[in-house]
Amino acid sequence: MNRPAMSATDEMRAKYEPVIGLEVHAQLKTKTKIFCPCATTFGASPNTQVCPVCLGLPGVLPVLNERAVEFAVMTGLAVGATIHPRSIFARKNYFYPDLPKGYQISQYDRPLCEGGGVDIYSDGEKKRIGLVRIHLEEDAGKSLHPEGKEGVSTTRVDLNRAGVPLIEIVSEPDIRSGAEAYAYLTKLKQIVVYLDVCDGNMEEGSLRCDANVSVRPRGQEKFGTKTEIKNLNSFRYVEKAIAYEIDRQIALIESGGRVVQETLLWDSARNVAETMRSKEEAHDYRYFPEPDLLPVDLEDHWVEGLRETLPELPDALRERLVREQGIPEYDAEVLTETRSLAAYYEEVATRSGQPKLASNWIMTEVNAVRNKTGDTIDSFPIRADRLGDLVGMVASGRVSGKIAKQLFELMLASPDGPEALVQKHGLLPIEDDAALRALALEVLAANPGPTAEFRAGKEKTFAFLVGQAMKQSRGRAHPEKLQAALRAVLGEAAS
């Protein structure tokens, strides 16, 4: 059913508090599927990564992939969740063409992890978003609906993805806006990518999100009726869809209507959410313990061993950069976007001995180029050692900021270090008095008018003459010494 986007006014919005919980499915970066040894490579041609198990043939049995458990536990540890010593797989029964067995092997009342949370920034304020649980499950295949010319009505099924390991991360209803949802997703993605358990690629579906949205009058304890929005395959869509749904619910209630529990599908082309399933048609999944698998029993020392191997996580790394390099929170936030960017920064800072200057150069020059070229820091042509040297030269006054920018441009195209480029392109600063005096004479001769004006006492023209001289020297003239030379020459009696 199609619904016109009803919009709420600000004073309407002021009366209500949105309550949002997210269910995120993250695809684990294992080589093989969760219950069979098929490869998980994305984009393989249809039904090539299949075997009797993931095809759901009669007589086959699932065998749990050790690495999938490891990755799920690592994620749980990273968000401070409780890792249960025993968790149990359950069958979620429903019929769909891309669900080969007629049930999905998931976890129900005994998940792998419970609790924990992640910190986000909501307009400047630090805020904790709690987690309900993290559990392991298998992905379904892909149903493709070829562009239906009228009359042609078939579905094609590709089972390459069936059985790929997922973790489902369920948040508490702690989120209050689309923007907070966006921040939460960004943080989750950052964590799983830091852990290297998920590639975080939304286009390829390695991260998927469903949102549960409700609103309640401010100050009311009881939750309002919630709706679930599916098909949110980008962080921006999540933000948009949630904002849309909050407004729809508020406007609906304000106009005397009632929110009905239903599942909505986000249409990113038209920016509307449409009913997919109403509560009446809701599934009865008939969960029961999977008899073909054993309970997942985790030894304490095994879990602790994993904890040891966890990489430094974004929050810890950010705090360390602030502490050790003395750079502002904001810089640290930007520089810890990925592990390799942070590592790049640390090398530049150490090599140049200029933590803040290094940070400025990366946040402005380097990121500006990367935003244009789409380079990751690892593919960025100027490696940390060369940038470190450049920053060092700026700091020591070996080159002016202006020259440094020229060098930076040259370094993008050449493997040479900044010092070599200075030599090669004659970019050494002009500091020698005779050379500067000659330059000054040249400029005054070329500008008789302004020279006369200055001599007539028009001090303002001095800046103009300095500029002309700088230009003449292609920025290489030593500023103070140049000014001194000009004043000296100007001071001499006109002849």
Binding site: P52, L55, G56, L57, P58, G59, V60, L61, P62, V63, L64, R91, N93, F95, P97, P100, K101, G102, Y103, S153, T155, V157, D284, R286, Y287, F288, P291, D292, L293, L294
Partner: protein
């Protein structure tokens, strides 16, 4: 006179083939000829593999000629219940919904049989998806009891039991979920073993009720039963519930006598069958007890207080698991599809036309037991009772080494006698189901015959992974009685004769 080849034991045949005294091809030909004669009368097979069987046998002979040592089942023909997958060979589970289906892979037991140089000769008839006690639920044909063609062979592995009884093969495999190996074994006068849950890999066995299913062999002697079990048991990485604790059985160990052995007898369970228990069965049971006593065993009275709840428990647990296991038959990837409009129409038409009444009844029952609002009252409660039933067995097997129970309340019944009353059919599983729920090993062995000449079997139940002790007890009985060595007339009509 020397007995005809088809009456010989698998052990003797394998030894002869391994020594080169007989060729695998000759052995296979002899059994194929027997089946050519009797299988059409009995309806034992859904699919025979005469050509490939001979080819396999000849390959085995060539390998021997090259000086290779052959496996424990060298040249021994084996039949498989039609719910065990063989690559490229039709596997229907006795159901229309799998008509024309050929699995693209081999079951673990098939790999094991081939590794032991056995020769696979065909797929036997069974109740649809192993749901039944008479093989009358097969969508394809009725199988007859070799001892009386008017009687059922039992089920669900009726074809596998009958083909061994009729000497069409020395050995066969069935599957036992609530008695589907042991009950037909009793009806057909042969041995039927349900191994400990986890002793034999289920990989390639089409699932009925995953927490209960076990593949089990049929044979005509205790030693042959041990021989094939030893070839099949053990850990398989493709079945997480399979266990390395299952070890091969030393045949010599079966010859030890019973002095100092404690036989547990849960007499009270006989009353559970009430009037349903045939006098001939009770008599055979009592006679067996004294026989074991004479053989040196100490008789220990034991109780299985919760066994009475076994049928109710089983008919919640098994259908619940089945309703989920059979969801994959949706007409999408294999089997027979019926198209009707949209996807849902296809699903309902395909499953409606593909499944038989008994299967539909159990899918409905299981779906109900798992559905929202009933799970706790039915499925969960049944699982708790299951805990009590298992504990009963483990306690009884603390004070005794093996238990003796009947396996069926009556000998084989007449074809079509019980088809109209599902509950009555279910109730006849009273003696076989408890051991299934407990996951302990159980063996049905030929004990005697009733006045009408129908076989009577009794059941031994052992400790987890102690199949050896049950077989040793059965072997002791076998030494003193001829029930196991008799063959039905149809088996010998071809010129055989009792040994």
């Amino acid at each position: 006179m020397s007995a005809p080849l088809v009456l010989e034991s698998a052990e003797a045949l394998a030894a002869a083939v391994a020594k080169g005294e007989r060729s695998a091809a000759d052995v296979t030909r002899a059994f194929l000829a027997q089946a050519d004669r009797t299988a059409p009368i009995l309806g034992t097979y859904l699919h025979r593999l005469a050509e490939s069987a001979l080819r396999d046998a000849e390959a085995i002979d060539r390998r021997r000629a090259k000086g290779e040592t052959l496996g424990a089942l060298a040249g021994v023909p084996v039949a498989l219940k039609d719910n065990i997958c063989v690559r490229g060979v039709p596997t229907t589970c006795g159901s229309k919904i799998l008509e024309g289906y050929r699995p693209p892979y081999d079951a673990h037991v098939v790999e094991r049989l081939r590794a032991a140089d056995a020769v696979i000769v065909g797929k036997t008839n069974c109740d649809e998806f192993a749901m039944g006690s008479s093989t009358e639920n097969s969508a394809y044909q009725v199988t007859k009891n070799p001892w009386n063609l008017e009687c059922v062979p039992g089920g669900s592995s009726g074809g596998s039991a009958a083909t061994v009884a009729a000497c069409e093969v020395p050995l066969s495999l069935g599957s036992d979920t609530g008695g589907s190996v042991r009950q037909p074994a009793a009806f057909c006068g042969v041995y039927g073993l349900k191994p400990t849950y986890g002793a034999v890999s289920r990989y390639g066995l089409v699932a009925f009720a995953s927490s209960l299913d076990q593949i089990g062999p049929f044979a005509r002697s205790a030693r042959d039963t041990a021989l094939i079990h030893s070839a099949l048991c053990g850990r398989d990485a493709r079945d997480m519930t399979s266990r390395a604790d299952a070890r091969p059985i030393a045949l010599d160990g079966l010859e030890k006598d019973l002095t100092g052995f404690r036989l547990g007898v849960p007499r009270a369970i006989l009353d559970e069958a009430g009037a349903g228990l045939a006098p001939s069965i009770r008599a055979a049971f009592e006679a067996a007890i004294s026989a074991f006593e004479r053989a040196g065993a100490t008789i220990v009275d034991v109780a299985l207080p919760h066994a009475r709840y076994a049928i109710a428990t089983y008919y919640l647990v098994a259908p619940a698991e089945a309703s989920s296991n059979l969801a994959r038959y949706d007409g999408v990837r294999y089997g027979a599809r019926r198209s009707e409009g949209d996807l849902r129409g296809m699903y309902e038409a395909t499953r409606g036309a593909g499944f038989g009444r008994e299967v539909k009844r159990r899918i409905l029952l299981g779906t109900y037991a798992l559905s929202a609002g009933y799970y706790d009252a039915y499925y969960l409660r049944a699982q708790k009772v299951r805990t009590l039933i298992r504990k009963d067995f483990l306690d009884a097997l603390e004070v005794s080494d093996t238990l003796l129970l009947p396996i069926t309340p009556t000998p084989a019944f007449k074809i079509a006698e019980k088809t109209d009353d599902p509950l009555a059919m279910y109730l006849s599983d009273i003696f076989s189901i408890p051991a299934s729920l407990a996951g302990v090993p159980a063996l049905s062995f030929p004990a005697s015959f009733d006045a009408s000449g129908l076989p009577i079997g009794l059941q031994l139940v052992g400790r987890p992974f102690d199949e050896a002790t049950m077989l040793r007890v059965a072997r002791a009985y076998e030494r003193e009685h001829d029930a196991a060595s008799r063959a039905p007339a149809i088996a010998t009509a071809g010129g055989g004769g009792a040994r």
